[in-house]
Symmetry: C2
Subunit: 216 residues, 2 copies
DNA sequence: GTCTATATCTTGATAGAC
DNA sequence: GTCTATCAAGATATAGAC
């Protein structure tokens, strides 16, 4: 993973933690906002409620994040930093990379709050003029290119069938992850997300790999 | 397809077309509303703008649809009626059914407006207290059950591998359709949706079918 | 069926005191 | 850094005339 959108959509409110005390306030606000956004979406959530959640008045919150958009972008940026600790995409082969997606899903089940928030925001950002549109768009594009490149490398070294449309498969994989998250959001207990992803990925690997007999 | 949510979420405003003249007004409003919802989402779209689009004042529109929710539910119900004309799910085998999904995707490329509206509403309905939550929830559940049952029938007649988790595959297929629609909404020209779906479905069929040698 | 006028509510944001 | 008070905008919905 380690996908980082460009800096042109960084918010002014993202300047790093200044003081230890102020930072904890900021963190509390970010957590409360993510909680609200994860359930009501960005548009419908009222930042006055977020303020209440952390025991602040609305102007008190706006002192830390001047606008609602600043608050949203701060959450997105924070996620970016945290997910940097995930898989090191560069050192993975196409196979270990795909298998790593299962691990990501497994890890995500431990932070349903975060997953929920980002799935909701991802979906919501499809609408016109949504402030998170650029962030998710860049992220999806980079992820698609990275997966496709991984697969293409596999083709070049003869480990992936030559006739595989790497770009199409990359699109497929992302669609599956996003789509499963949507179904899981609707009815979290209705199926085992990690199991379904694992089943898909393992089948995909078998389908993609060059048959040993024909291997170069 | 032909998936019909229960009637408990029918809106009062859905009583069938009364007069020929009034109906065309209603149709124009529904079309304009779908156009707005497909771009701005339900929550963000203002019905006053919809009224303007059809040359009515806001109270003029509210005469036809007493509330915004009535307008939304009328759109959902209309879609239900139209999609009845799609695949006859009962007469399909698991194989023809899955292949039929490719045809549905192909058909949908001809009505991007509708697809866009329903993908947006589907995503938006994941939030708390969304008026379309029940409709999409029931629809997803019925679709899942139908696909799973189709596959299970294939297992019973020995045409599908015995160790296939039919419920998981059904979930997978729906996730793929929904996920691809999201990616397509973000960047409609970035890939060939029908092609990707066809690639996935055709691979899936090969993976699911019992090998001729071991067939019962 | 459609309009003008209005009521009511919610929200994001600002001014200025402490 | 945080508050009270206030503003301004935008939205749904209603009242009542034509």
């Amino acid at each position: 993973m380690t996908i980082r959108p460009g800096t042109e959509i960084q918010s002014e409110g993202v300047r790093r933690r200044n003081s230890a005390k102020g930072a904890s306030r900021r963190e509390a606000i970010l957590a409360a906002a993510m909680h609200r956004f994860s359930r009501e979406g960005y548009q419908s959530a009222a930042i006055a409620d977020v303020a209440k959640d952390v025991g602040l008045s609305l102007p008190g919150l706006l002192h830390h994040f001047p606008t609602k958009v600043d608050l949203l972008l701060a959450i997105l940026d924070k996620r970016d930093l945290e997910s940097t600790a995930a898989i090191d995409i560069d050192q993975a082969t196409w196979r270990t990379f795909l298998l790593g997606l299962i691990q990501v899903a497994k890890y995500n089940t431990g932070i349903p709050e975060v997953v929920r928030a980002f799935a909701i925001l991802n979906a919501e950002s499809l609408t016109q003029n949504h402030p998170a549109k650029a962030w998710f768009g860049i992220r999806a594009q980079q992820l698609q290119a990275n997966i496709a490149a991984k697969l293409q490398a596999g083709v070049l070294q003869g480990d992936v069938k030559r006739d595989v449309d790497c770009s199409a498969i990359a699109t497929e994989v992302i669609a599956m992850m996003d789509g499963l998250q949507m179904l899981w959001l609707r009815e979290p207990t209705s199926f085992d997300m990690v199991g379904v992803i694992a089943g898909y990925i393992e089948r995909l690997i078998l389908d993609l790999q060059a048959s040993p007999a024909r291997q170069v």
